[in-house]
Symmetry: C2
């Protein structure tokens, strides 16, 4: 399973946002929407072996974590607006523990540190960071892997500290500093190529 964890440092935790202004008053929720697209979409299908955890840390009621599970998703389309509507619908529901809000979409109040702690039990953690090891030069990848990345802001020193408790492998993707969704596309391409060789 390939997992992505994206930190939405100021992404809204209220469903009261307009679908007409997704890059404005949502705390850059638009970045997370594009990460969903690049996590799941193949040309004519959805990647089943993928999960993404969006950690929404903005006002008014942080943290909300929304988890998308590729093998269960039914109503996902590639455009930003319809994906935003799915998130809005999730945020409008009350969750005790983790609640399914739509096929393949789950919401909880899990904090970033809880999400990482849970995922680190089953998977090697990779930290996407410009100063990391070149992804193409890593000798191999485990079957179960989790990639952690920020939205348009890097992880804070505190967020990095949480990650460092789990011995993450720091990975870079190339010489340029890229948008989060573009990073996910490149990670997939590298892993697809490795799988093909095996």
């Amino acid at each position: 399973m390939r997992r992505f964890v994206v930190l939405g440092h100021r992404a809204t935790t209220s469903p009261e946002f307009s679908l007409d202004d997704l890059s404005g008053a949502t705390g850059r929720l638009d970045i997370l929407l594009r990460c969903i697209n690049s996590s799941f979409f193949l040309s004519h299908s959805i990647r089943k072996d993928v999960e993404i955890h969006l950690i929404l840390q903005g006002p008014p009621s942080p943290t909300k974590t929304i988890r998308f599970v590729g093998s269960e998703l039914k109503y996902l389309n590639p455009d930003e607006r319809s994906t935003a509507a799915l998130i809005r619908s999730s945020l409008s529901q009350r969750a005790e523990g983790e609640k399914k809000t739509s096929p393949g979409i789950y919401m909880s109040s899990r904090k970033y540190s809880d999400v990482i702690s849970l995922l680190a039990k089953d998977s090697q953690i990779y930290y996407l960071k410009e100063q990391g090891h070149d992804v193409r030069r890593l000798p191999s990848f485990e079957q179960d892997i989790t990639f952690v990345l920020g939205d348009d802001r890097d992880l804070t020193p505190e967020e990095e500290q949480v990650l460092f408790e789990y011995d993450p492998i720091e990975v870079s993707l190339g010489p340029e500093s890229l948008h989060a969704d573009h990073c996910i596309t490149i990670v997939h391409n590298e892993l697809d190529r490795r799988l093909e060789k095996n």
Copy 2:
């Protein structure tokens, strides 16, 4: 200069579309919008050495070609909706020859074959195709290159014939069949890495 040519086989050529339904009644204009995003956006800047030509071939008045020029762009944001508004504004204007409709955005009635013929004068043509040569194994890239790709549909045999007149190099990006915008992201990553080595 890196150039991308994306064929919007049924992409609308009318400005009369709703920004609220970009993946519905626009002939999959949403795919082209995401190609604009992946062509230009770096984390905190816009790629200046890039141009994209969107060939809109849908009703009611095909063909319209919209060209975005990285070094001149001013009002481009990463979200789909605001980019769609730029396209809509272009389509609402009448063009004789090629007309600047906004900084860095040009519209014309150039047909696909005219666009390719123009670009082939100055640049090597690459055709993104699943059966092509692996992009990572190509020995080198010229300074001026043009990548041609379809939207969610492959090039028709007639469109391929046009391309084949210019001895394109057929390039594949990996084992999976990918969305057009994801292809552009992977091409950029490969070229960024080559540039870094030089």
